[in-house]
Structure formats: structure tokens, C-alpha cells
Amino acid sequence: MKQVAIIGSGVAAVSLARAILRRRDDVAITLLEAGSDFRLANYRTWLDHLMTKALPHTPFMDAASDVEADQFALEGSRLFCRGGTTNLWGGIALRLKPEDFRLHSLTSRGADWPIAYADLVEWYEKAEHALDVSGESATADPPRHEARYPFPAIPFAALDAPVMDAMTALGIGYEPVAIARHGTRCMTTGTCRYCPLDARYAAGSDLDRLAAEYPQTHRLRVLLDSPVRKIVLRTRKSCAGVEYIDRRNGSSHTLDADTIVVAAGTIESAKLLLASATPDWRNGLGNQSDTVGRYLMIHPFLGVSGVMPDNRDRHAQELNFPTLVSRHFDTPVQQRAGKLFFAREGNQSARAIEDDLLQQKSPAEIRHLIETHTRLDLRGMMETFGAPHNRVAIANGQTRFGLPRTRIDFLVDESSLAARAAHEASLRRILEKAGCADIRVDPRQTPRGNHACGTCRMSDSPADGVVDADLRVHDIENLYVCSNAVFPSAAAANPTLTLVALAIRLAHHLTTA
């Protein structure tokens, strides 16, 4: 039996494990997760989330003290638990566009991918099915080659209407959201961050399904509370296994493996390669060009909101996810300055009637506020470009998950601030056209790690990257990275769908090689 060790238990790890197990019956997989157990779709947990509004995921988030950074926040942007960060994500599932794979060739900025959009098309379709995506299949940009989403697009909400009218008048395109919502399980509970019905894709639940499919522990094992401290080499070009700690008793262990896949997210994947330095790899595995940890990219979030001119029908935010999105500013024209993806997204300004009542507003007063003060929000994320000085490194000390603390150096570049201002002006024009009053631009946030990528980027050559087009670490024959860390560019799209496409593609590579 061939042994594959996957470090992490998030969406990349689970998608990869399933695709390998289905293709080969002579492979055994062990997932090593630093965090603890976490279960979804528990009614009592959901009831507490409903009644207190607290997130049950909080114990699995970074603490502020886990990170040394002047201008970067990780708290709330990722989870250390069984199933990882998709236990909390919003679920927007976008393909990158063809030009995103040729960023440097087209703009002289950032880096190209060593693969093209065409190389991922087949895997994107499988990823959309793996994530139970609801979406509009009849779209041409990016080309779908007749691929159909597993579930139909979710209708536009009533609150979208004034924005749709304004965008039409301005010649700005829009479309229904493509989102990981199971089209028959979703019952619109309005509590998507902790869905009681398991209708938003979450790798924790997917791992339950996978474990049920492969109950034999010799095929699939999940080791929780098991932070991997080091990848152990057999020779300069070959790994022997991993060293990990059992956090429950502090004991150290070694796990032998024929193939090792680091699927621990953008920050931890880079740190593990750095922590595994040997005399042959003095700066860390795959780091002969000092690229590991560098070119960290994020998506700055931006938002503009305004008060609806007339809401006599008392429309309100009735769903917990956006239904209207736009990729109008996500085209080759905007690529050089930085593309934008945006949505009408009202969760942050949705009126909480219970809070109004507890602030001693009368029902009549609340109805009046809904009619006269309902806000429309446009929120987006924009593309930024990799820079070598934006980097992840290992800091002294340990987190409560048994992992090294993180050092992040990150500078926001001036050109992205100019692009941001231009995008905010575009969103403002839409709300002005919709007749909104009191239009406000969200203050700029501290850069956050939510969509972090780029620290182990793909490249044709070890001179300018960490892994090759098959996600194999350059010059190490059985070590792979399957994480947003391998993205050479961030584009203006949530990274998860592309990550899953890469994971399924990697499984194909590993089982046919």
C-alpha cells in the first residue's frame, strides 16, 4: 500500500484525498490536522449561534499574539480545526479568467502561471460539482464550454432591483452569484456561517462523507491535534516522512510516507517548508531562490453604501449571502491597475430588529426606519500584485495549536491605493444612479489574510518559484504543495474554486504518474 501524507484537513486536503481514493485502491491516506475536532449541522450549536449571534468557530481562530505584523491581521481569516477554513467561508465560487493566467505577459506586473485557463477547464467543472455550486451556466466569460453547474442560479433578491436598474443605465454588467450552496438542501436559514442543514459546502462535513465512504482506517486516517513540525528528507531530492506532535499528550511521532502533500494554507505551508531546513536546504525546502514565503498577496476588501431613496415595500436583506455580483471590472482592460469583483451584499447593514427593540425603539419606529433608512451596500475585492518584500516567515514561540508563531511583512503599494479609489468611485456612481442618499465609502481596513496566496508560487523554473506546474516542489521528487500558496497571481476572484480544481488535478497527476 502506498502511503500519502496530507498536511491539513481543509478543502484542498479533502478534495485531493477523495480524488486519489476513488482512482486507486492501493493507496492509504493520512490527514494530519493541527487543530481539534469541530462538527457542523449540530442543532444546539446552531441554536446558540441564532440566539447569541456568536460564532462557534471562534476557539479555532488565530489570536492576535500569534502574529508579528505591523500592518496585517490574521484573526478571523482562517480556522485551525477539522475541515479548516471552509467551515466558515462565504462560498462564492468563481473561476479565474484566461487573462489571469498570463498576468505578467499582458501587463508586465506580477507573474504568469505555468498553466493556462484551458489546462484547468476540465478540473474547474469537477470542482464546481465537488463544492455543490449553484450558478448560471449560460455565461461566456470566462468560457464554460457548455459545463453546467450542479444547481441552477439563485434568483436575484428584491433588494437587488434598484442596483440592477442603475447598472443597466450605466452599462455595467451583472450576473447571479456562483456560490457553494446545495440547491436542494439550502432552506435559506439566514445563518450561513453555521448552516444547520449542511447546505453550504464545508470541508468538515465533506470529510464526514469521505470517512463514511472509506470506513477502513487502513485507507483513510485523520489525525487531529497533530501539528506537523518538520518534513523529513531521505536524500536531498526525496522525502521520508513527517515529524508531528500529538498535542493531547505532547508526544513526538514520525509518519513515514511515499508522497507528502502540504495542504496547510498559504501561511502555514510556507512556514513548514522554511521550518524543514536541512544542511542541503539551508534556507528551507524548495527555497534555493529565496522565494518561499515571499510574494504574499491578498484581496483588499472595499465597500460603498447608501440609503435607499424609497423603501415603502419594506424590502430587507432576507438571505445571508449575495445574489447579484458583477465581473464588469474584472477584464483585461482593468488588469494592469488591478481588477475588481463586487456584489450587492447587505449582511453588514441588515437591520437587526431584535437589537432595535432592545434599544427601546417601538415597532412603528422600526417600520419607519426600514422604509426610510434601509441601506444598499456594494462590496468588492480587488486584485493586488505579488512583491518580494511581502512575505511570511517564522517568528519565535508557538501558538496554542502547536505551530510556530508567524511573522508577516506587508506593505500596501501606492498604485493599488489609486486603483482602489477608482473602483470606489465606480461603486459610488452606481449608488448615485440608484438614487441613494448618504453614500459612504468604507474606511480602508488593515490588510487581512482571508484570501492570502502566493507564498509558494508555481513556476517553470526554481529560479522564480517553489513548485512546478504539477505542484511538485522543484527538485524534490515526492513533495507537493496544494494550497492557495501556489497561486502566482491573485486575480479578483475568491481562490477556493481554483484551489479545488488544482487539488483534483493533482490527484490525477499522482495517480497516473
Partner: protein, 193 residues
């Protein structure tokens, strides 16, 4: 503890009860009031979360009575009868599974019992337990904990299951309105792409 002038002002200003509050009523003494200001717990989360069990019948009825009275004051009484079994079942789950709210619910029930006995009607009782100002912080006190862990949480539950409809919505955070692609689970835009 007398209901002082400030509390009466709260009644008068309380929009929640604007049409029923006993504005100008004589001050009412709540004998148990001083106990409400005593320290109860500083646990982050429900007190004694390991103490599990079904809430005693009388206490459960008091919590239901509070919910019914809030519903009545807000004009949602017609929907309450159908909703009450759901609330009972959910409150029971919160005392029988960890982390248990049993200690918090028992303590809040004692507050409600005293308030219902001392105050002239349901509306003023609801207003008092939710809003009465005692002039200093209620954090970690019997009343402060009851407000946070019981009265506010039940109000949130109530709004999410029946109250929101009176504000024009057909779906709300926590309400299970039906399949995402079915008409009636949320209000759609009249136009498409």
C-alpha cells in the same frame, strides 16, 4: 427596591410599550429588587454550564409567559400559540445539553416571578426586566445576567421565528423559509438579467 423616577421615565420613553406603559403610575416597590443587583456570575458564557437538566415546570412557564408578553406588546400574539412549543423545545435543549443554561434560566425565572408579582401588568413587567435603569452597571449581577443570557436571547428567538413578519419580511436570520429556489423563501426582484 423602589421603581424610581428614572425607571418611570424609562417606561414613558419606551417605544416598545408606548401604547401600554403605565406612564404616571405610582412607584411600585419590588421587594426582591435588591437581590437582583447582587453578584451572580462572571463566567464568559452561561453560569455552571455543566449543571444539566430539565427546567422546573413553574420556571419554564415563567419564561414562556415572558415571551408571550413580549409578543403581545409587539402585536405578534396571533402567531404565538403555534410558536410556543418550538420555543419550549429549544429552551429545554439549552438546559439539557452542554453548555447548559439551567442556572441562568432558574435565576431569570426568579426575577420574573418577583416582577410579575410586584408590577401592575405584563407590559410594565416586560419593560422593567428589560430596561429598568438602576443607576449603575448590572454586569455580572442577577438582573444583568438575566437580561443578557435569557431575556435578550428569548427576544432574539421570538423575532427570528414570528416577529420579523410584522415588519414586512418573509424571511429573516434564523427562520427556515424553504428551498432557496422555491418561490416564497425570499422576495425576488421582478426582473432578471
Amino acid at each position: 427596591m423602589p421603581v424610581d423616577r428614572r425607571t418611570l421615565l424609562t417606561y414613558a420613553l419606551s417605544g416598545l410599550l408606548a401604547h401600554v406603559a403605565p406612564v404616571g403610575a405610582s412607584p411600585t416597590r419590588i421587594e426582591a429588587g435588591s437581590k437582583w443587583l447582587q453578584f451572580f456570575s462572571d463566567e464568559n458564557g452561561p453560569a455552571s454550564p455543566q449543571l444539566r437538566g430539565a427546567l422546573e415546570g413553574a420556571d419554564a412557564l415563567l419564561l414562556l409567559r415572558y415571551a408571550r408578553d413580549v409578543a403581545a406588546v409587539c402585536g405578534w400574539e396571533e402567531s404565538f400559540a403555534n410558536y410556543a412549543p418550538r420555543l419550549s423545545s429549544d429552551l429545554n435543549l439549552k438546559t439539557t445539553e452542554a453548555p447548559s443554561y439551567l442556572s441562568e434560566y432558574r435565576s431569570a425565572a426568579r426575577v420574573l416571578a418577583a416582577a410579575y408579582e410586584a408590577l401592575p401588568d405584563a407590559a410594565s413587567t416586560v419593560t422593567h426586566v428589560l430596561f429598568a435603569d438602576y443607576g449603575h452597571s448590572l454586569e455580572n449581577t442577577v438582573l444583568g445576567r438575566a437580561r443578557k443570557y435569557v431575556f435578550a436571547e428569548i427576544l432574539t428567538h421570538l423575532v427570528s421565528q414570528i416577529g420579523f413578519r410584522s415588519f414586512g419580511s418573509i424571511n429573516y436570520r434564523g427562520y427556515i423559509a424553504g428551498p432557496v429556489n422555491a418561490p416564497g423563501s425570499f422576495r425576488h426582484a421582478r426582473r432578471t438579467r
